[in-house]
Symmetry: C4
Subunit: 373 residues, 4 copies
Amino acid sequence: MKENLSLLSPLDFIPADIHCAADYESLAARFIPAPGLEYIAGGSGQDKTLAANRRAFDQWFICPRLLPDLGDAHTRLGLLGREFAHPIFLAPVAYQKLAHPAGEIETARAASVMQSCMILSTLASQSLEEIAAIGTEEKWFQLYFQPNIEATLDLIRRAEAANYRALVVTLDATIRTPSLGALRSQFQMPADCVAVNLQDYEINSPRVLAAGESRIFKGIMQDAPTWADLQWLINQTHLPVIVKGVLHPDDALRIKKLGAAAVVVSNHGGRSFDGAMASLNCLAAIRAILGDEYPVLFDGGIRSGLDIFKAIALGADAVLIGRLQVYALSVAGALGVAHMLKLLREELELCMAQAGCANLQAIRNCRVEKVSI
Amino acid sequence: MKENLSLLSPLDFIPADIHCAADYESLAARFIPAPGLEYIAGGSGQDKTLAANRRAFDQWFICPRLLPDLGDAHTRLGLLGREFAHPIFLAPVAYQKLAHPAGEIETARAASVMQSCMILSTLASQSLEEIAAIGTEEKWFQLYFQPNIEATLDLIRRAEAANYRALVVTLDATIRTPSLGALRSQFQMPADCVAVNLQDYEINSPRVLAAGESRIFKGIMQDAPTWADLQWLINQTHLPVIVKGVLHPDDALRIKKLGAAAVVVSNHGGRSFDGAMASLNCLAAIRAILGDEYPVLFDGGIRSGLDIFKAIALGADAVLIGRLQVYALSVAGALGVAHMLKLLREELELCMAQAGCANLQAIRNCRVEKVSI
Amino acid sequence: MKENLSLLSPLDFIPADIHCAADYESLAARFIPAPGLEYIAGGSGQDKTLAANRRAFDQWFICPRLLPDLGDAHTRLGLLGREFAHPIFLAPVAYQKLAHPAGEIETARAASVMQSCMILSTLASQSLEEIAAIGTEEKWFQLYFQPNIEATLDLIRRAEAANYRALVVTLDATIRTPSLGALRSQFQMPADCVAVNLQDYEINSPRVLAAGESRIFKGIMQDAPTWADLQWLINQTHLPVIVKGVLHPDDALRIKKLGAAAVVVSNHGGRSFDGAMASLNCLAAIRAILGDEYPVLFDGGIRSGLDIFKAIALGADAVLIGRLQVYALSVAGALGVAHMLKLLREELELCMAQAGCANLQAIRNCRVEKVSI
Amino acid sequence: MKENLSLLSPLDFIPADIHCAADYESLAARFIPAPGLEYIAGGSGQDKTLAANRRAFDQWFICPRLLPDLGDAHTRLGLLGREFAHPIFLAPVAYQKLAHPAGEIETARAASVMQSCMILSTLASQSLEEIAAIGTEEKWFQLYFQPNIEATLDLIRRAEAANYRALVVTLDATIRTPSLGALRSQFQMPADCVAVNLQDYEINSPRVLAAGESRIFKGIMQDAPTWADLQWLINQTHLPVIVKGVLHPDDALRIKKLGAAAVVVSNHGGRSFDGAMASLNCLAAIRAILGDEYPVLFDGGIRSGLDIFKAIALGADAVLIGRLQVYALSVAGALGVAHMLKLLREELELCMAQAGCANLQAIRNCRVEKVSI
């Protein structure tokens, strides 16, 4: 990206040179300032897990079937007792005003139009109640445990009251560090981009460490949620609780047994533990241990309908779209996000037609092959 | 390719700098406009399968035998009850006027001279009857099921009447999308390059979709052929029916049982499902399930006699040459295609001599080794 | 590095653009003359083993656990009957005046502040007695067998007298050749950078070879230590003897049986045998043959806390930091080395928190996965 | 290489910037005209096997042993009942006047000084009798079967009379094609560079092919030797017959049973069958089928003592040096070749010392590991 290229404001039309959903990624550099883009595009540390997420997709190829009967073909799925039109959900992405002045409002409009389940982040830059009021499509609320329990409980009650239909509790992000790229770009969150839903909660004063105490173990991680907290959460709400950030099959099984409604296999898009396995590489073992029926969602590296197909083939019921959501938002607001979702769905349907799969279950049964690249 | 390089007209001589068949690929950029070349050279989408096709060849190496007895060495093969001089056939490539003003006429002349079985595309830009009249070498007709059955039947009867000796029905191309490269180059088919053999058939009016209906499942794929259509075709004609586009062993077996005469292991040169396995990587399993005797043809990524050798070693009886055919056509018309075929055959014979294989069966028994690259 | 960039003197502050321990590596080029940097950064010969050391780390990914109980989390380890605050030791690196005017004195100050076990090299450019007097943290002395036994014995006695707590005898470096990079840069050790601790020992006159005798076998290697020498050393001192340079499991087992207190799995940072396996790739087999309890240290390629985590996961109790030590020393003396150690420890703690490991034993039990890259 | 760089004449001293044997490769570009260098450096066709030969070496790493007893260390080997000082032989390389005005005379001088067994090519550009008279070191004669048997027999008798101690019959080169690089450089053998030892033999008039007959099968390969020819050769001479060009274990076993004295595992340095396996990848299977005692030589890709070590570890008794021989010859004639041999031997001894191998048998027993790169 040339430095002297002036940035564009969000468009109110779809640019002619978008041929596939992934094209929003390259175009976003025209709409998001370089430091912000580093923050969004980057993972954590040296971006090893970020890169592994993508590379994992590139290793898989599909053995298609001929002459499928697609008379009743569809992308529908049943999940938590409801039916969704397609398995392409919007991941909880924080601070969307960074990409567009209206932030999550635009995203919610797109989700509604495209029948996509939007998962609103605790760290949204727009009010959770305001977002809830947009459109009629089912929405979920992503929950971070707050330092004090009253805040957490208040968030739960507000989400319930606003008619969010599930709580997605993220457990892999107690401690995160930016990518070196973001650090070097000296990215700062703009002043108008704040976690408005947390503004009324008391902020705990930072823990004072004794000499020699670990800033990490005794500082930051003392606020980390526990298995008891997760159990508390499940008991506390009538909403289904979905656990996001699961990579280890034993954790997945324990979470299922605890009564969670679903898991999201995720390494936080490579933004949390730089060194974690590619989330795609964790899918099959988690599906195997949880059985065919338990809901398993997935995110991490998806850029196309083909990627969605591969994630489903390896065990996912549905997928969450993170970075592409923000890129499309930056380019053309609600219009961009809606178009991006439309493209992804058509790309998925195209793959299904070409692979001979009339529904998502058929994808799960599809023959895939890993090659070394 | 420099933009300001003026394009050349097809030559009437062989350029001095053609040292091997693959050299036609680089030379073609001097003879085909850039957008057309993008269309021809590209695969589909991000060209993942296109690249996989080539990479699959690069992984195999051959363990040659010494001191072979080549006294009776030859490249002949028996197929469908006839004998062919060599296993290098011309794949059905549409719209050849794109590469040369006389299109398929030149190709047919070359095929006849070089004793190569030409497979004429349904989408040829020259009349199937005119092509049939060129030379005495056996030709096959490639069939796409047409939207209405009368057109399909008429094509079959015309092919029979024109003395095509087999029907190659392509089943992997109901829905295809261009490569991003072709899209970005804004390629348009020239006005004089049309599917002349289909011009007299009624065009179905496009299906009107209800709101929310999938453009792919309910639109395009509603015209997709079915297993019943394939059975109908086999019953309808006395010609052997060869099914092109097979990658999955279970499909191959079902096709054999249905009475088809042969299969072509192919992913449409990476031009159909971008995400499909490399066709070379599908060969061995298909040969294994079909048994040693059933005819298996192959295409996808061949650029040399060595590639042909590898495809045969992994289970093919014969191979189809697609892109090289068009490149050579663009460079020097019939002369170029004939020369390209001559080079491929000599390259194959060279490999056979060097590997110690006196015939194609010996290639099949040859020891090959896959290395990670 | 631009040639005309003038070199900087060691700073007395931490540069703002150090975001992780590895950043000292790139920054060092501003502080160390190019030939010296070639000498330090290079391995041996064509740097094949040097590169393999790093690549081995890049292949491993970690499957983290959620919701760990980190209430008592720590990085402590017991070793040789003592407890160390963390497993990050300073490798014996020779001639540290090359990187900083005060050389090992600065390093020792940093080690003491950061509770890191420093291993002083026989080839230190500062007096072993002077280094021993710095700080209160436990130090070890690295021993090269000297050409005559009196010198070796005197070194042992001096190390004992100076209160070094272990002898680390390096056995993989009898014969070493510089990297081609160092040779081409025409690196020469500066006149003021000498092995001061050896200055008083008689230098053996070089062995005179008969015609046709191998310079290597009959020259250099005649001074190589033997298994008897190692046994002699163990018998000679009350200090624990740690053997550095072990790659083969059978050697490791023999060393354990001989009574050595620990082994260091190491290929001398790729500086000795260019062709040796990556030391990380040797760890698991050595841990397996020695059992869970025997102390195994590791060096070779560590640039981050993540690398330390991986080495421990594959069997190491503690790790030695070589090149980063020198780079940090060149940038900011004791301050730099201390900061680098602090960063590594925090990076390790970060990985532990993110992977859900409350202590080093939990790392050992962690699920890791090797991918081809 | 810059085009306008003027070429140098062979030096009478060793250039200062030769740090290892492989350095002769890069330096040769200053001494050999570009087309000649393409011819020498290139393999065949697209150089796939040439590249595979080198890559095969890069995949292997060695697990060294500590504290070896090198008191009696040496590089000697017994072969064909004689003892050789080291396992580094000079491969039969044709037309050495291409690299140096005195060609094979210089090479022979170097071989004698460095106790290397030189294998003189049938296509030498100097008289086989003249070469035989140089020095006292054992030499072998490489034999190509000639189109008529009298010429072959005369060559055998001349080699016997000139006191060559073995015949190395090359069987993998009946048909060879240049690399595309050599073709494109339009290399022509200089007029003064001829196969002088064949000048007196009658040249068969080229075979006249019938229409449609294969130029390869019925032309060139009709002159190919047969198993009967090999048996005839073994019966015809009292010299040990060594078969060069063996890659398949079944061929190796048949050759052993026929009474040949040894095999050379070789793919002609990638200059014959472009598509053949890397010769290093063929070694282990051939050693396994022939047993520990039968002499197995190796060539293909060796550039260093480390490569020699690896070839021996994988089953070779001795190795042949091809291209490095010519490069060193071009740089400094006999002096260069002798220096190159000295460097290789010292590099081998260095590896042995570092790996803990006191002799070649110990190398064979060494633990090596293949990694994917």
